[in-house]
Amino acid sequence: MAIQIHAPTNARHLLQALIWASLPAAIIGIWNLGFQLLRLQAAPALLERLDLNPDPASVISCFIAGAAVMAPLLATATAVSGFWAWAFSTLRRQPLDSAWLPMAWLFVLLLPPSTSLPAAALAMSFGAVVGAHIFGGSGRYLASPALLGALFLTMSYPEFVAVPLPGTDIAITSTWAQLAANGIEGSTLLPYASGREIGAIGAVSTFACLAGALYLIHAGAASWRIVAGGILGILIPAVFLTWADVDGALPGQWHLALGNLAFALAFLITDPGAAPLTRPARWLLGFTTGALTVIIRTLDPAHPEAVLHAALLSVLTVPLWDYLVVRRAAARMASRAPVAL
């Protein structure tokens, strides 16, 4: 007999919490995207039509410029994700997987602003189908579909991502790539951490991502152990690499401030659909994500951004950590259970 009462938090609340938690990061990301476009004098045609001043100092102009780039991507990703959710629910005669919208939302936030719409549609399809639906939808997949989709894009179709900004011939280089090549001398951390950098649309503001993580933890959707493990995983190797004076070593806070790392810690690896089942595995998932990112970023001579790769690798190790924890518990149970089995 199924239970008649339930705690007030249900799966839909958790999905809503994810949207709310990522909203500040998205808003800062949209504003920053517009700011960078206007700074590079790549103002979208929309601004002219609205008779707005293409001045990077104008918040409204920045916001509208950013939204003009993001909106088509979001519309495409939402339509594609919704289509696949509908298709699988129809074919399987199951209710619609309610995670289709958050899936598309996170995916778009992870996209580089120069992504073309066909590339976004293709990558979203890969993320939704291979990442989620073939496993049976949300709660049954191995890694966040948004993560898989974005990684698919950067790995398989780098030429799609590297196209010039829409409507211009200006190619942009991410802040991470610039700083990794030139070093951080003369730069200050705060603007990057608060969101003034070139990178994925919604992942630029470390502060907004960490605030989102706190909200998710408060709402019960994310595990604080994953986030805390991730921060430890950044700091420990970063301290060690700096101490060993490895070429290209950066302090931990720079790693966290640049690129997608804070976004991945807050929204990708904490995904309750793919998160670890045991407490030790939660610490380890966070730790390996942070540590792998720092290690690849530092030791790979090309200094790639590496967060998505590290996150995927770490998420794929989760079943192993869980398995080991369960084996240990089962062994202890065999020797100490109330009834000798």
Partner: protein
């Protein structure tokens, strides 16, 4: 005395414990097949037969020493069969709840040998008061437990306070403890911390106090908590448990030779005008009980049970009753009444996604088993992993809090029931 403080768990807020008290003599009682999973009934009565308090109604086909007896004198009104000739309900019209006649032989004296006492408990239909783990079933007639747990506390929301019931029947409880401690080498009297209860000095009986949120009062929690602290006493064998009201019933039978069938239950929940403590019979018909708690001034006094969801047992692990099964369960000490509208509003978010690995499962789970892997093994019907993680030592009620907090609204306790059934059959 051992004191164990449990930190993890959750007290679900449903209201205050009942204070107002009344007596209710039901016109009808029933024995429900759902209370005895695994029991294959061989009915010894037919519809229309007269029965006395203590008359044997049915015996287990596979273990004929185990029988169920009538809690009150009356006439068998209906025997309803379920799927595959299983027993759904055996309903008795009670003609006089104060009837003193009984079919039982006089009980042996308390200093009789354990074998005599065992047979007397079985003949009196009191044996099903014990349940044995693994598999949470009525123990075999000749089995001996390694440890016996007397549950003299109740952490379920809105549950009656066990101390009240025990203090009223202190002599019967004391005698009952003497009887049952003879069955087991070790007996634990599990009470709430600071409970005003007297624990008699008996060989093999030790008191242990538990504090903390629910499920600190469940026998499964007690078994694991004591096993973790008294490793030296970890002898292999079954763990039995029995509730305090059944200990009182055993004491009353051995003291007076009568089965009173008495239960002190709480009738409570948001669907009622007030929460009450009701003294009634095992298997009492619930609808007339609830009608008695509405006054004529209440708006829907004509059909007070309309628009209500009635649960026999705790809100977390009880059974939703229907019009034909609205009787108090054998092991239940409470009836929870909810508004149907509030229940249906929650039911619309049925389980659509798989299990979500959120931290909340760990925070409501005090047992030394990794809970989320266990829950996933149960959902995946991975009986082997579930058994390795100790699922055979659990009862569905142990997982009720997981059902409650699960954001995906999965039914883990039902999954555990299925897994236990498969493991018991050796699959």
């Amino acid at each position: 005395m051992l004191r164990i403080e449990l930190k993890r768990g959750l007290d679900v807020p449903l209201g205050a414990r009942p204070g107002v008290r009344r007596r209710h003599s039901p016109s009808r009682v029933a024995l429900l097949g759902a209370d005895y999973p695994g029991l294959r009934p061989n009915l010894l009565v037919a519809e229309g037969d007269r029965v006395n308090s203590g008359s044997v109604l049915l015996i287990d086909r596979t273990r004929p020493e185990i029988c169920l007896t009538a809690p009150a004198a009356g006439r068998v009104r209906e025997i309803r069969r379920g799927a595959r000739r299983s027993l759904d309900a055996l309903v008795i019209d009670v003609d006089n709840a104060e009837d003193e006649s009984t079919d039982l032989p006089p009980p042996p004296t308390t200093d009789a040998g354990p074998e005599t006492i065992r047979r007397a408990l079985q003949r009196g239909g009191l044996w099903p008061a014990f349940r044995a783990r693994p598999f949470e079933r009525i123990p075999d007639a000749d089995a001996t437990p390694a440890q016996l747990f007397v549950t003299a506390m109740d952490t379920h929301p809105l549950a009656p306070d066990p101390v009240t019931a025990i203090q009223e029947c202190a002599d019967a409880f004391d005698l009952g403890l003497r009887i049952i401690t003879g069955l087991s080498p070790v007996t634990w009297l599990c009470t709430a911390a600071g409970a005003n209860l007297f624990c008699p000095q008996l060989a093999g009986l030790e008191r242990v106090e538990f504090s903390g949120p629910h499920p600190a009062g469940l026998p499964g929690t007690h078994m694991f908590a004591i096993a973790a602290r008294r490793i030296e006493q970890l002898t292999p064998g079954e763990r039995w448990h029995i509730g305090y009201q059944d200990v009182i019933a055993i004491g009353e039978y051995f003291g007076s030779g009568r089965l009173s069938g008495r239960r002190l239950i709480s009738l409570a929940g948001p669907g009622l005008p007030e929460n009450q403590l009701v003294e009634t019979l095992i298997g009492t018909a619930i609808h007339e009980l609830i009608e008695g708690s509405f006054t004529a001034a209440d708006t829907n006094a004509a059909s007070p049970t309309r628009g209500l969801r009635i649960i026999s047992g705790p809100a977390l692990s009880g059974r939703l009753t229907t019009a034909t099964t609205a009787y108090l369960g054998r092991y239940h000490q409470q009836i929870i009444v909810l508004h149907a509208a509030s229940v249906d509003a929650l039911a619309t978010t049925a389980a659509t996604s798989g299990m979500l690995a959120v931290e909340v499962f760990d925070s409501v789970w005090p047992l030394p088993i990794p809970v989320a892997p266990l829950l996933r093994a149960l959902l995946m019907e991975d009986t082997e992993s579930a058994a390795e993680l100790g699922a055979t030592l659990l009862a569905p009620e142990d997982l009720a809090l997981c059902d409650y907090v699960c954001p995906a609204h999965q039914d883990y306790s039902a999954a555990l029931s299925r897994t236990l059934e498969r493991l018991r059959r050796g699959g």
